[in-house]
Symmetry: none
């Protein structure tokens, strides 16, 4: 019957899910049948989340990559890294900056596996295309000053620019050696990944970590800066919910509404 | 148009989502509009996951409770504990055993907040009903033997009964003082929560932790014992995906298929 | 130029990162070049975090071990367990107590893999040294009383000693059968790992779980007891930030400042 056309499991919705899966993942959906793969993954995540307008496929990838890297299930990391590179949505240089950015926000142990996967999937892509993979090259020196005072000042400036609030005092190792010297004094200033893209990765990371203050400050500044509109941020929440679950997304959703009101009030 | 009746955002599907939300959560859905609450929560999690047959509302609560307690977003924990008690699906005594079981599988820090919430929501429910809440009573001593050898033997037997594999050797503190002496020597043997219910909590916990071996052993034994059928376990995977995200559910889904094949092969 | 000597990517800083990596990890750094390994791991985590004074290499290992065990990426767990044993910083008996303590605070599923790794790396170390690994021996019975009343009383005393606050009532399974009977009635009282070392593991575990109350209570008592000074605790925050990411460390950093003020006020 016509009115069942878009119920889960119906032909039209399933077709859309499969087509979107192929388009996003650059692979066929899993053959094995289960409520998870069919009702959940194809009929919802791909037919109804990835297929939505309001956030580009490239944008959605930054949110997904952070989530799969955090969830540390090996196959989804490999599949999402492969798909992002194979589609051309994200370059290899951008992907490697995503790894560094993610490692800072979710810790080096999880970053370590993510980094290995970027190389293995990059090699897989070259092999599939019959191309020779160029040997890894030493990177150029980062652009940050060696003088520690200049570096801290640069970190304080970048902190203000990114977060739209004053920089924290230089009084603990966490803020001085960590936040000002490295995270904002260096990492956020790196080339090869734009600030908007870094925000997408960051919002996903603070949302899955769900520590109260960082969620607020990054959601606030992403919208305050104009890098993400309210509508885009709300799409991020839905996308994140699929990739890291409803409970954590519920808090993120609340924070988005509250921080948007705060911005509107000026 | 008729064929849009069940597309996300359409009246019929939204009505079903709202009705299921009220039935499950014993509260009205959030008034604030966003893709997360409407397209995600109402149109998918409630209209299409909680509304599915194949796993009872009570069963789904054990999976959800483990996930919200792990995700440590305060509001969802409070709402799910309240709803489980208010519906009568889970008694207060069962709920408190869920907290202990969860604390063992996901750690005492997260258990700490969960435990406080059971008392505050239990008090809220009494207040709403105009009933006097009875003062907390000291519990009877745990039912396990004090003699350390008997206790370890009891733990080894319970380990075999629950896991359908031999007990581990008594050679590390983790296995001897932890697994045999406490987790199976005491916790799994406690009254007030059935083994099937403990399995639902456990499968959710090992899936959100996603360490390879415990997922396999608990998925295997839950189906091998007959406590959960394959169809029920596959519903657990979909429900879990909504509450803890697709990447981790993807690995759980794979393990369910592989362990079921192993059971079929005998 | 002198002022460039310590910029990231410069020869001097990279040399320090590599030397510290070898000293800590007892292995050569990964050959592959990427922002993650060079700018992140060598130039920051090793050149600027591990190389800091204020917390010994042994102390830093307890924090790192908890973080890598929680992050469940296999290679970092193996590498850090190996390095801790190979350096002689942590004995095998201590390591096994770390596993039990970690399992309690972060759950048995994650503990399960960690435990296996301690045995495999211990075997690897014996093989590398051409030594025969002694067969695992059954452990002596746990040292706690079998009488349930004495055991609970011992747990209440240990709870007060460790936490510097009154013990919770015996009114829920979580507090009675769990916290008083096992966590403090047995686990914290075990030999082979000092209380200061247990605090380092615990602070890392509650910080990565980031449930509000346990962070406060363990940070408070670690400093109140004198087991960790304020300076040491602040080094823990920076070290933790590198291993589990800035968002969670941000909350820990705030709690350290607030609890220190509370202690100063008396």
């Amino acid at each position: 019957m016509a009115e069942d056309n878009d119920a889960p499991g119906t032909a039209e919705r399933r077709r859309r899910g499969i087509a979107t899966y192929r388009d996003v993942m650059k692979a066929d959906p899993p053959a094995r049948s289960s409520p998870f793969t069919e009702i959940g993954m194809l009929d919802f995540v791909f037919a109804e989340v990835w297929a939505r307008p309001g956030l580009s496929r490239r944008d959605r990838r930054f949110v997904s990559l952070a989530c799969v890297a955090a969830a540390d299930a090996a196959a989804p990391i490999e599949e999402h890294v492969y798909a992002a590179l194979a589609s051309g949505d994200i370059t290899f240089e951008e992907m490697q900056e995503v790894v560094l950015h993610f490692a800072v926000y979710c810790g080096w142990p999880k970053g370590s596996f993510f980094e290995q996967v970027t190389w293995s999937q990059w090699a897989r892509l070259h092999a599939e295309r019959g191309e020779t993979m160029p040997p890894p090259q030493p990177l150029p020196y980062p652009p940050t000053p060696g003088d520690p005072e200049l570096r801290l000042q640069g970190g304080e400036q970048e902190f203000r620019d990114v977060n739209h609030v004053p920089a924290p005092p230089r009084t603990s190792p966490y803020t001085q050696a960590g936040i000002l010297n490295f995270v904002f004094g260096e990492m956020w200033q790196r080339p090869n990944l734009g600030r908007r893209e870094r925000r997408l990765v960051t919002v996903a990371c603070v949302a899955l970590d769900d520590t109260p203050l960082p969620i607020r400050s990054h959601v606030y500044s992403a919208m305050k800066s104009g890098d993400l509109t309210l509508d885009e941020m709300q799409e991020v929440v839905l996308h994140f919910a699929a990739y890291y679950g409803w409970p954590k997304a519920s808090f993120l959703n609340q924070v988005v509404a509250e921080e948007w009101e705060r911005i509107q009030r000026g």
